[in-house]
């Protein structure tokens, strides 16, 4: 995982009111997050696009079980 992966998790924690600081890891499962819903999904797409300048579709996001699955969709993370 690149530094951007860490940046993504910290920014998502900051932006999304249902999350606490320093709680997300690549192993975190989306469906285990309390209050995870469509608004949280939208926020995730937004932070992902901001950090990686890369868009993930709603369908792609739905297929991701963990934060790590999502991160692996970024072209920059595939090189690692």
């Amino acid at each position: 995982m690149t530094d951007k992966g860490t940046k993504f998790m910290r920014e998502l924690e900051e932006t999304l009111d249902i999350l606490q600081e320093d709680t997300l890891t690549p192993e975190t499962r989306f469906r285990d997050l309390p209050g995870w819903d469509s608004l949280a999904s939208l926020t995730t797409l937004s932070v992902f696009d901001e950090v990686y300048s890369h868009q993930v579709s709603g369908e792609e996001l739905k297929k991701c079980e963990t934060i790590g699955d999502l991160l692996s969709l970024a072209p920059e993370e595939k090189g690692e």
Binding site: D17, D37, S38, L39, S41, L42, T43, L45, S46, D49, E50, Q55, S57, G58, L61
Partner: protein
């Protein structure tokens, strides 16, 4: 993407008539029964406090006629000088004839007046201004009456929690005319028809008739109920579309037009929701102070009437004094987007008011 520059054209006056029925958070508690914190989250996210709906039986045409009659009452419109009427709507009274013809009859306009509807939604105000400019620049018209609005709330299922807290009903009317003192207007318009399914009312027209299977209520994975006759919106696709196309289109427009974004006083976006507006501001590196959004808070998403509603509600007093350098930009159903960079005003009158059935 189509780009065009017009000179010598001005908007002279604008009126927006909105539905009279007020809706606040209290009206939506039932929809979010047992989850008040979810309702609060939605409201913070979308940035809407109050919505205004048309009563059943009141149509976009009624709201539009009311807006025109207000301009007449204020003495800022002379129907005898109008040579064309453009009515932008996706919620017309009928499939045939179009709203513009019906309005022509109601207003008793001369037979020499050309009229037509334009089927566009959230980008529709700018599409309408582009068409009005074209008619004025080369179409033999001196004054055009432009209307744009919808009664979107009537297309939404009462138990659709994703869409119901968003939409309001309104229609705008503006006088657009040839004016030797008019400042340059630069337009950019585009479409992505492959994304058409992201905002769609599947049934009720000719592809799938209303009634029967189309009227069956279905619940999605999140518990929202709708029929094929209701408005469907894929929020994530629309969000991605907006962030993919809008910043690029607007940057392309100000580069093409040779505009310094620092000199733009206001970025008047279609009042979709606060989350989208904040993301657009961030991507374009413009401060939220330059992005009006009180109209969104106090009126909700008014479809194609939302940009003129901002002009009237947040910029109206300034626009009655002087011209304002702005970018106005709409995006949505189609999928389509359209932006206008240029000076609007001074206007002889600008106002927003509720429909009164009398």
């Amino acid at each position: 993407m189509a780009k065009a520059k017009f000179e010598g054209i001005s908007v002279k006056s604008v009126a927006v008539c909105h539905g009279p029925e007020k809706r606040t958070a209290e009206d939506e508690t039932e929809l979010f029964a047992g989850a008040p914190e979810q309702l609060q989250r939605v409201r913070d996210f979308v940035g809407i406090q109050t919505r205004w709906l048309a009563s059943r039986g009141v149509t976009t045409l009624d709201l539009g006629e009311s807006a025109v009659r207000r301009l007449l009452a204020e003495g800022v419109l002379d129907l005898e000088k109008i040579q064309a009427v453009i009515f932008v709507t996706q919620t017309p009274d009928h499939f045939q004839p179009c709203n513009a013809n019906l309005l022509h009859g109601r207003l008793g306009l001369a037979k020499e007046v050309l009229v037509f509807d334009v089927n566009q939604g959230c980008s529709g105000w700018i599409y309408g201004l582009y068409l009005a400019s074209s008619l004025l620049a080369g179409g033999g018209c001196g004054q055009v009456l432009l209307l744009a609005g919808d009664t979107v709330s009537q297309c939404i299922h009462p138990r659709d929690r994703t869409l119901r807290p968003l939409f309001s009903d309104a229609c705008a009317a503006a006088l657009v005319e040839r004016d030797s003192g008019g400042r340059p207007w630069c337009f950019d318009l585009g479409s992505d028809g492959k994304g058409a399914g992201a905002i769609c009312i599947p049934a009720g027209a000719h592809r799938q008739a209303a009634g029967g299977e189309a009227a069956e209520e279905k619940m999605d994975a999140e518990g929202n109920v709708r029929t094929a006759e209701n408005l469907f919106m894929d929020g994530m696709e629309v969000f991605n579309f907006t962030l993919r196309e809008e910043p690029r289109a607007i940057k392309g427009l100000w580069e093409w037009a040779g505009i310094d974004p620092e000199e733009i006083e206001a970025f008047v976006f279609h009042q979709a929701n606060l989350f989208i507006l904040q993301n657009l501001a961030k991507r374009l590196k413009i401060p939220m102070e330059k992005v009006p959004h009180q109209t969104l808070r106090d009126f909700g998403n008014q479809s194609s009437a939302s940009i003129p509603a901002v002009w009237c509600y947040e910029l109206g007093k300034t626009l009655e004094q002087r011209g304002v350098k702005m970018v106005s930009s709409g995006f949505g159903v189609g999928l389509s987007w359209a932006s206008l960079a240029g000076e609007i005003g001074p206007l002889s009158w600008a106002g927003i008011f509720p429909y009164d059935a009398r």
